[in-house]
Symmetry: C2
Subunit: 368 residues, 2 copies
C-alpha cells in the first residue's frame, strides 16, 4: 500500500515536516530560555508527545481528564509524566480522576474560581494526593480566567489555604491575538501589562509564580515579548493548518497534516464533490479568512470548497484553468487541524520512501 | 449511576421519544403506501437500526462503504440486509468492499456518472456479485445528481449495458427544501416536475424504476406530494435537533438526543462556559436560524451559546432572569445531531425509571 491507494478520505502526516516543526519551536524556546509544554489536543498521539518530550518539552498540556489519563503514558524514561490540564476540571468525575492520576504523575490544573479550587482540593484529599494549581488569568480572550490582578490574588490566597493543593503559578492564553507576527507586538504589550500587574501583586503579597504559562501557536514565536513567561503551550505548530497559513504564521511547506480525498461527482456544472465533508474536515471556518472556504486543495489552489455536508465537500471549480475530474485524488489542508484529527481513529504517518504507517489517535474523543 | 452523575459532556437519548418518533414516521408511511429506508447516519447504531426495521422499514440507508459493512449486521431475522448507499462510491476501495458485501446482502448504490457505473461494474464482476443501481437525479439541491431527464436516461442506458449491475431505479434528495411543512407544497411541486419528466422518459424507453427513493427529515411528512416515490430516507427524525425544531418540523418534546453539560466557568461577566465545545456539539450552525447560536440550553432558553472552541462553549447569559452557576449541569439540544453523534463513542440510553445504559455508536467515524 502506498499513499496513492489509501482508502479516502485519509489523514496523512508528513513525518519530515513534523520533525522540522517540533525542532524549530524547541530551538526558539531554548534561545529565549522558555519551556515548551505542547498542547497535545492537536495530535492526541502518544508517539508525537514522546517526540516533543525528546526534543526538550518540559511537560505536556491537555484539556480534559481523559486526555490527561491517555497522555500520562507518554513518559520520558523513568521520569513521571508532567501534565497541565489547561481547563477548569471542577466536576466530581474529572476532579476525582485527576486526583487519582496525581498520585503517580505531576498534575496541574488551571482554575478561575474558588468553586474549582475547592472541588479539586476535596478530590485531592480523598485520593491522598496533591494537585498543582495555576490561576487562570484572562488577558483579553474573554473565555475563562479571573478578570483582574486583585481577583488573581484572591484566588491564589484561596488555593494557598486549601489542603491537597499546591499553588504553582499563573496561566494565560492570548488566543485572541490573531495578528500576523510582525503586528503582534502592541497586542502582546497589552497582555504583558495585565500579567505584569498580577505578578507584582502576587510578589507584594508573598506569592511566587514558579510557572507562568502562556502561548498559543499564532503568538508562540513572539512569547519573548511577554516578560515573566516561563513556558509556552503551542499545539497546532506540530502540524499547522489553514488558520496558521492564512494568519501568516507558517508556509504551505510547514503544513504536515493533509486529507487525501477522491472526487466522487462532477455532475453539477462548475462544481466537483470530494468525499470529505464535515465528518472529515469539521465545519470550522478559517479564522483569519472566514470566506475562504473549507480548506485548501493543494493541487487546485483556485478551487474553493464552498459547502460541506457530512460526507460531501462541494468544490467550486469555475476559477480553475484545469479542473479535477471524477475519480481523481486531491489533497486538502484543513482549516483547523485539531478537531479534524479528533474525527479520525488513525492517521497515516509518511516517512520518505517508506509505506504509510498507521498512527493511532490515542486520545481521540476524550471529551470528559 | 443515574443521569445526574454521568461524566459530562454526556450524549443522552430518551428511549420513549425515539420510539414515538420511529412509530410516527412508520404510521405516515403506511398511510401513504411508502417504504421507509431510514438513513442510519443519524444514530449509527445497530440497535436503533433494528428498532426501525422492526417498525416496518424496508431497508437501511448509509453514506459510506464502512457504514454499509457495519449496518449489514442489523438484520431482521434470517432476511439478508437491504442497504442503499446514497453516495457515489466509485473509488476502488469502496467499490470493491461494496461488491464483496453484495454477495451476502442486497446492496444498492446511487450514482451520477458513467465513471461510477463502470467502476462499480468492474468491482461487481471481480467479486462475482451484483450491485443494484439507483440513478441520482438532482432535483434542485445542486450537490450531486444528473442534471436532466435526458442525462438520467443516458445513465440508465449505460448501467443497463454493464455486467454486474442491476438498474433498480432513481434516487432524489430534496435537501434544499427547508420551508416549514405548510409552505413546502410549491417547492415539492417543482421537485415532482423533474422526477415526473424523468420517469416518463424512462418509461418511453422501456426502463422501469422499481425503486424511486426520496425524502429527508424536513420534507418527510410531505412525501405524498411527490407522485411516483416508492420510499423515503429520513434520518434525523429518529432524534430530531435544533435544525428540525427551528425549521418547524418537530417540537422540543420530540428532541430525543441531548448533551448533558457542566458549567465550568463564570469568571467573565455576563457569560458562563459549558464543557461542550466543537468536539462535542460540532461547529454546525442552525440552518433555519444561523444566528441562534450553537444549540438550545433547555433549562435556560434565554441563554445563547455564542462561541465554541474545542472544549469550551461560551454562553451569553445577559438575557437570563436566573443564571446558571459554576458547577451546575445543563442540557443542550444540538443544532445538527448527526455529526454530533459521530463525535461520541457511545451515548446513554435512558429508559424511564432505569439507570442509563451505554449505547455504542457502532458506525462512528466510518468515513471511507
Amino acid at each position: 500500500m502506498d499513499v496513492t491507494t489509501l482508502p479516502t478520505p485519509a489523514l496523512v502526516i508528513d513525518a519530515a515536516i513534523v520533525r522540522r516543526n517540533v525542532e524549530r519551536m524547541a530551538a526558539y524556546a531554548r534561545e529565549h530560555a522558555l519551556g515548551v509544554r505542547p498542547h497535545t489536543k492537536t495530535h492526541k498521539s502518544l508517539r508525537l508527545a514522546a517526540m516533543q518530550l525528546a526534543a526538550g518539552a518540559v511537560g505536556l498540556t491537555v484539556a480534559k481528564a481523559g486526555e490527561a489519563e491517555a497522555m500520562a503514558q507518554a513518559g520520558r524514561g523513568d521520569a513521571p509524566a508532567d501534565l497541565l490540564v489547561a481547563y477548569p476540571a471542577l466536576d466530581p468525575s474529572r476532579a476525582n480522576r485527576l486526583a487519582r492520576l496525581a498520585r503517580r504523575a505531576t498534575v496541574r490544573v488551571a482554575v478561575d474560581s474558588a468553586y474549582a479550587a475547592e472541588a479539586l482540593a476535596e478530590a485531592a484529599e480523598r485520593a491522598n494526593g496533591t494537585i498543582g494549581i495555576l490561576v487562570d488569568v484572562d488577558v483579553g480572550m474573554g473565555r475563562t480566567g479571573v478578570q483582574s490582578p486583585v481577583a488573581a490574588l484572591a484566588l491564589a490566597q484561596k488555593v494557598d489555604s486549601l489542603p491537597g493543593l499546591r499553588l504553582d503559578g499563573i496561566m494565560i492564553y492570548p488566543g485572541h491575538v490573531w495578528d500576523p507576527p510582525d503586528a503582534q507586538a502592541p497586542a502582546l504589550a497589552a497582555v504583558a501589562v495585565i500579567l505584569g500587574a498580577t505578578l507584582a501583586l502576587w510578589r507584594e503579597n508573598g506569592f511566587e509564580a514558579r510557572i507562568v504559562s502562556g502561548g498559543s501557536t499564532p503568538t508562540a514565536y513572539q512569547s519573548h515579548l511577554i516578560p515573566g513567561l516561563t513556558e509556552i503551550r503551542p499545539g497546532t505548530y506540530v502540524f499547522n493548518d489553514m488558520n496558521a497559513l492564512r494568519g501568516g504564521f507558517c508556509g504551505l511547506n510547514d503544513c504536515a497534516a493533509r486529507i487525501v480525498c477522491t472526487v466522487v461527482s462532477e455532475a453539477v456544472p462548475g462544481q466537483v464533490v470530494i468525499d470529505a465533508g464535515s465528518k472529515t474536515l469539521t465545519s470550522d471556518r478559517c479564522i483569519p479568512a472566514p470566506e475562504s472556504g473549507h480548506g485548501l486543495i493543494v493541487e487546485y489552489p483556485d478551487a474553493r470548497i464552498t459547502k460541506l455536508s457530512e460526507e460531501h465537500g462541494q468544490v467550486d471549480v469555475t476559477a480553475c484553468s484545469r479542473r479535477p475530474r471524477v475519480g481523481e485524488r486531491v489533497t486538502v489542508v484543513p482549516n483547523h487541524i485539531c478537531p479534524c484529527v479528533n474525527l479520525h481513529d488513525a492517521a497515516w504517518w509518511l516517512e520518505p520512501g517508506e509505506p504509510p504507517e498507521s498512527l493511532v489517535v490515542d486520545a481521540r474523543g476524550r471529551t470528559s
